[in-house]
Symmetry: D2
Amino acid sequence: MKKITRLFLALSLICVTMAMSHQKKTRIVFFGDSITQMGVNPGGYITRMNETLKGKGLDAQYELIGAGIGGNKIYDLYLRMDSDVLAKSPDIVVIWVGVNDVWHKASSGTGTDADKFEKFYTAVIKKLQAKNIRVFLTTPAAIGERTDFSNSQDGDLNYYANIIRRLAKENNCGLIDLRKSFLAYNLKNNPDNKESGILTTDRVHLNAAGNTLVADEMMKAIVAK
Amino acid sequence: MKKITRLFLALSLICVTMAMSHQKKTRIVFFGDSITQMGVNPGGYITRMNETLKGKGLDAQYELIGAGIGGNKIYDLYLRMDSDVLAKSPDIVVIWVGVNDVWHKASSGTGTDADKFEKFYTAVIKKLQAKNIRVFLTTPAAIGERTDFSNSQDGDLNYYANIIRRLAKENNCGLIDLRKSFLAYNLKNNPDNKESGILTTDRVHLNAAGNTLVADEMMKAIVAK
Amino acid sequence: MKKITRLFLALSLICVTMAMSHQKKTRIVFFGDSITQMGVNPGGYITRMNETLKGKGLDAQYELIGAGIGGNKIYDLYLRMDSDVLAKSPDIVVIWVGVNDVWHKASSGTGTDADKFEKFYTAVIKKLQAKNIRVFLTTPAAIGERTDFSNSQDGDLNYYANIIRRLAKENNCGLIDLRKSFLAYNLKNNPDNKESGILTTDRVHLNAAGNTLVADEMMKAIVAK
Amino acid sequence: MKKITRLFLALSLICVTMAMSHQKKTRIVFFGDSITQMGVNPGGYITRMNETLKGKGLDAQYELIGAGIGGNKIYDLYLRMDSDVLAKSPDIVVIWVGVNDVWHKASSGTGTDADKFEKFYTAVIKKLQAKNIRVFLTTPAAIGERTDFSNSQDGDLNYYANIIRRLAKENNCGLIDLRKSFLAYNLKNNPDNKESGILTTDRVHLNAAGNTLVADEMMKAIVAK
């Protein structure tokens, strides 16, 4: 074999390797509200996932993109999914929504009816799946960390979490059941039945332990071991 | 003994007997909202208690008075307690309130803040106890009968029930924990996690089984065996 | 000219006339909530417009299509506009929405925030105009007919009506200011400051006078004289 | 006349003067919510009234007492009127309440139904008048200063203000119609239809101009010229 041929072969090999490594980079969009918006901050759950991926030497294979906006409800996600999600051609989308749909009922009279929540949520899933995107659904973790279901919105949160669990099953989506994980953690670590301070700073948004728990649960669900 | 003396003795005996029988009649006022208002209807829980007392031959010893008004919250009870309760000089008052304090938050924006609920409830108890009235507190049974705490107001109902349980302890009142009884009954008899139809007609107001359960629980708590 | 030629000419004329008359038929979709859903009933405002068009001999030129669904808010319109409006290739769309966006704040805690209302409303307009559809906006007429602005939701209705008036101007849409027309009518015909019964049956839905007023206002705005 | 006699006469005169000046001191309790609670601060409307009285040399004739507690609604006033008002044996009570009864409907679902508002308000008036106290009622000034009735709670505020105006008439109470005064002032001084900053700092609580206006209106109504 001539020199020049060998050179070309070597170059080809490099190109293929690069192409393959490039091909392999799985793009994940995290689509949600203020909790996800804060997820890309230092210490945030998306930031932690990136660090974990690096630690495992998997950072070349995954690209994590935050697409959270404070105050968003399910219909806000529907309105902005073209520009904020589909435009980024993700392989995977993780939807985490529901807290504002419930919370705003009490705080400003502008929550989302359960039947409309399901309708818009289904529309979001269908539109993502039509683009061959793998979809993961997340249950709303908490509005208050008391473990005896005496947080004011527990009834609705349980109900909306049930809807999401059912939608995951019906639409063959992955399920990351944060509400279940948070309750289990609090049953062990919140003996005084406190409202916040265990996994959240303010009943809703994540503290360090909360970000770690969420990052761990997401890694388990999404990233192949 | 002369005839006239005997006559007087006989008359005295009759009077004493009447006085005693009159003395013994324990007057119980049931103080509450629409659930209690309906309690005096045929089949209502107060009506059933009367029938049970009759069956046990105890009807001469108790007088049951309904004082329920639809839509009442704790501060409504406070406003009308002089005219509707104290004016009747009861020996016992059973307070059953809380459903509207929670429900009206969602249905009309006019529920009761938890701290105010406790404040007015305490004022009602103190005013009754100042008249040497024995006071029984009742936890709000249900707004929805689902057993997985996915009824919309379960969070608040659990919280307000906790307040009432604590108030009973702190003020040495009897406690009739209907919320606990209803949940226990539903866990056995509501396998399909239905919203209503087990103990209520409409998630709140009692059907036949509900009236029976409440009457039984009240009899156990109030009437000496 | 031969017989056969004349026949063809005659046939051509008929075809052209039919084609033209067919071309001319302006298709109008009325896009809204329960008020519009009821508009196609006997006596409803859309039915009345059809009758008026017939009376003027204009019924061959217009096709009126009702697309109202009870309980709809602006984001419901956005979700279903492809299937319920665009699929019908209308020339004109009349949007009448806003009552539920405001009302549901108080009745079920699921109204629409003002900024989101504007955002979704703008998205609906843009999407219609991108298809060269002429768009008319309608202000929400009333939730209660008292004329001294003491109807519970008057503040929000005035605010959301202002948003719609501004959106009409900014987007070059026609404006049918029903809120203004209703108030003017009530100032003349509701001397006792009654809540309903003048133009509505129940503070919101139209009675005969209401349907007539709305039909008249729409005719004036949409149909060339 | 002997020296000693003159001395006694002089002393008597002083005593009588002191007694009279003491007798004359009219005690006014301002009974309300956070707006009144802030009224006793430097610059607050009660503080300003005291300064005005001093300027007129009338400070010896009036004693102004603030009895405002943040977040109070009409039933809170009813609950604490014995300890906070009647215990101070006032000659005059100025009631200023209603903002929270309306506002809390939207902010926390715990406002006051209009019919209950009237019921408790009437009970407060009756109880004060039974002690021969002169009662002044005040309409709720504002939740938002826009002048076109597009502040979110304007409908309810107008309605509750109407109730208060009627109660003043029916119960022969003085009326200080702050809602009317605020609107008149804003129509002159708020050409840009701003939400706050004219008479309030935050749509509800008084700025310097607001405290001055309220103090002036109260002076006019209560203090004989």
